[in-house]
C-alpha cells in the first residue's frame, strides 16, 4: 500500500510531468487562460492516461516490441478521439475553448512516456494508480498556472469576478507572454521551495 501511495503522490511535485519532466507543455501553455479550461484539459488528459495505461497494462504482454510504439499510439489516439467526441457531446463550451488541443493530447509525450515506462512494465493496479497520480499532477500544474493567469489577467477565478468590470487587470497574463512567464515563475518557485525543504531535511 505504501508503494501505491508513493506511486500516487510522486506525480504532484517530485516527478510532476509539467514542472519537473517538462512534458506536454503545449496544452499547458495554451489552454490555461481560465481555471475551468485548465481543469478541463487536465481531466481530459487524465482520462486518456488512465484509459491507455489500463489497456496497455493489460495488453502489453501480447504486443511484440517491434510494433510497441505504433500500437501504443493507436491506443492513445483512440482514447483521445473518444474524449474529443465526449466533450463535443457533453460540454460544447469546453470544446470551443480547448479547440485543437484536444486532438493534440495524442502527442502529449507524457502519455506515451507513461505507457512505455510504466504501464507496459507494471501490473494493472499500479498502472491505474500511476495514471491517476500523474494525471492529477498534470491537472494540478495546469490548475496552478491557470488560476495564476486568470486572476492576474482577467481578474476572475473560475469565471467569478474578483474585481470590478472597469478595473485594469494585467492583461499580458491572459496572452501568450503571460503563459510563458507564469510557467517560468511557477517552476522557479517550486525549485526554490524544494531546495528549501531539502535544506531543512
Amino acid at each position: 500500500m505504501n508503494e501505491a501511495l508513493n506511486i500516487f503522490t510522486r506525480g504532484f511535485v517530485k516527478e510532476n510531468p509539467v514542472t519537473k519532466m517538462l512534458l506536454g507543455l503545449c496544452p499547458v501553455l495554451a489552454v490555461t487562460t481560465t481555471a475551468i479550461n485548465g481543469l478541463g484539459m487536465g481531466l481530459a488528459t487524465t482520462f486518456v492516461l488512465l484509459g491507455s495505461n489500463v489497456v496497455i497494462a493489460l495488453a502489453s504482454k501480447a504486443i511484440p516490441s517491434t510494433v510497441r510504439i505504433p500500437s501504443f499510439i493507436l491506443v492513445i489516439a483512440t482514447f483521445v478521439t473518444i474524449v474529443d467526441l465526449l466533450i463535443q457531446a457533453f460540454s460544447p463550451e469546453l470544446n470551443q475553448s480547448l479547440g485543437i488541443f484536444i486532438p493534440l493530447i495524442v502527442v502529449n509525450c507524457m502519455i506515451l512516456g507513461r505507457a512505455e515506462a510504466f504501464a507496459s512494465r507494471n501490473g494493472l493496479w499500479y498502472s491505474i494508480i500511476d495514471a491517476i497520480g500523474m494525471g492529477l499532477g498534470f491537472t494540478f500544474a495546469l490548475l496552478l498556472l491557470s488560476i495564476f493567469r486568470e486572476v492576474l489577467g482577467a481578474g476572475t477565478i473560475f469565471n467569478i469576478p474578483l474585481v470590478g468590470e472597469d478595473a485594469s487587470t494585467i492583461l499580458v497574463f491572459a496572452l501568450p507572454p503571460g503563459a510563458f512567464a507564469g510557467l517560468g515563475l511557477i517552476i522557479a518557485g517550486l525549485n526554490s521551495l524544494e531546495k528549501k525543504m531539502g535544506d531543512k531535511k
Partner: protein, 279 residues
C-alpha cells in the same frame, strides 16, 4: 448495430495499420542491431559520472571493455567495493577489490601557520596568483588557498578553510580530477587507510628557508627517519616522505618531530587531527 461509418473506419485504419506493420516488420528484420545486453546492464550499474578515474573515457566504455575481456582486475574507484561486488555478480566473476584511494593535501600552511607575502589582489584563482608571483604565501610549494581545485571535484569533497584546502575523505572517490587543477601540485593520491601517517608538507626548500616561511613545514631534520623502525621514511630533496606500504602506523615519528606545528599528521580529517593535537 452497425453504423454507416463502421466499415470504412475499420477498413481504412486496418489497412493503414497493416501497411505500417509490414514496413516495420521489414525494417526490424533488416536493420537489427546486435547489442550485448550485458553492456547495458553494466552501464546502468556504473555511477555514470564519466570521471575517467578507471582509465577509460566514459563509464560506457569501461562497461564494454569489461564485458569483452572479463578482466577481473579492472576497477572503478568511484563505485568502491560495493560496485565491485555487483559487477562481479553480474558477470559471474570475482572482481578485484578496488583499492580505494583518496586525495591528500600535502600542506598545513593555513593562514596561521604559513607566513604571507604581499596581499594578492588579482583574479582569485590559484593559477592566476602563482602566475603573477610566488603567491600569497611565502612558501612556493604550498596550497595557494584560492580554491581553484574545488570546482573540479564532482563529489563536493573539497572545501577551503582558513586558506587551506581540506579534503573530506568520506566523499573523495579518488577520481583524480583535482590533481591537474592545482598549480603547485600539493594534492597527491594515496590509498585510503584507517590510520595513516603522512608528512603533510610539500616544501623542497632547505630547512632554514622552510622554517622562515612556515610553522608547519618539514625541515628535513632526519629525526623521524632515525626513529622509524620500519625504514618507512625517506628524505628526498629536503622533504621527508612516508612510504605507506612500509608504514606500520606505530606513531613514533610524530613524537619526535620538532617542528612547531607538527608536520607529521595522523591522517584523518585534518581538523579533527588538529583538535587532537591541541588537546
Amino acid at each position: 448495430m452497425i453504423s454507416e461509418a463502421f466499415i470504412p473506419a475499420v477498413a481504412s485504419l486496418g489497412s493503414v495499420a497493416l501497411t505500417l506493420g509490414l514496413i516495420i516488420f521489414y525494417v526490424s528484420k533488416k536493420f537489427h542491431v546486435e547489442e550485448d545486453p550485458m553492456v547495458t546492464i553494466l552501464n546502468d550499474t556504473l555511477p555514470g559520472v564519466n570521471c575517467g578515474a578507471c582509465g577509460y573515457p566514459s563509464c560506457g566504455q569501461f562497461a564494454e571493455v569489461l564485458v569483452e575481456t572479463k578482466d577481473s582486475s579492472m576497477t572503478c574507484p568511484v563505485g568502491g567495493t560495493d560496485l565491485a561486488e555487483k559487477l562481479g555478480d553480474t558477470l559471474g566473476i570475482t572482481m578485484a577489490e578496488p583499492k580505494p584511494i583518496t586525495a591528500v593535501v600535502l600542506c598545513q600552511g593555513d593562514n596561521d601557520t604559513a607566513r604571507e607575502t604581499a596581499e594578492y589582489l588579482g583574479i582569485q584563482d590559484c593559477w592566476a596568483a602563482t602566475q603573477t608571483y610566488v603567491g600569497p604565501k611565502q612558501c612556493r610549494y604550498s596550497c595557494v588557498g584560492l580554491g581553484s581545485c574545488i570546482a573540479f571535484c564532482d563529489f563536493g569533497a573539497m572545501r577551503l578553510e582558513n586558506g587551506l584546502i581540506i579534503i573530506d575523505k568520506d566523499r573523495c572517490t579518488g577520481c583524480e580530477a583535482c590533481i591537474p587543477a592545482c598549480p603547485t601540485g600539493v594534492i597527491v593520491m594515496q590509498e585510503k587507510k584507517a590510520e595513516r601517517y603522512v608528512i603533510a608538507c610539500n616544501s623542497h626548500d632547505k630547512g632554514a628557508a622552510t622554517k622562515k616561511a612556515c610553522d608547519a613545514g618539514c625541515i628535513a631534520c632526519q629525526k623521524c627517519v632515525k626513529v622509524c623502525d620500519d625504514d618507512a621514511i625517506v628524505i628526498e630533496n629536503f622533504l621527508a616522505k612516508i612510504i605507506q606500504e612500509k608504514c606500520t602506523s606505530c606513531g613514533k615519528c610524530i613524537e619526535v618531530c620538532p617542528t612547531k606545528v607538527n608536520c607529521i599528521l595522523l591522517e584523518e580529517d585534518l581538523k579533527e587531527a588538529k583538535q587532537k593535537k591541541a588537546s
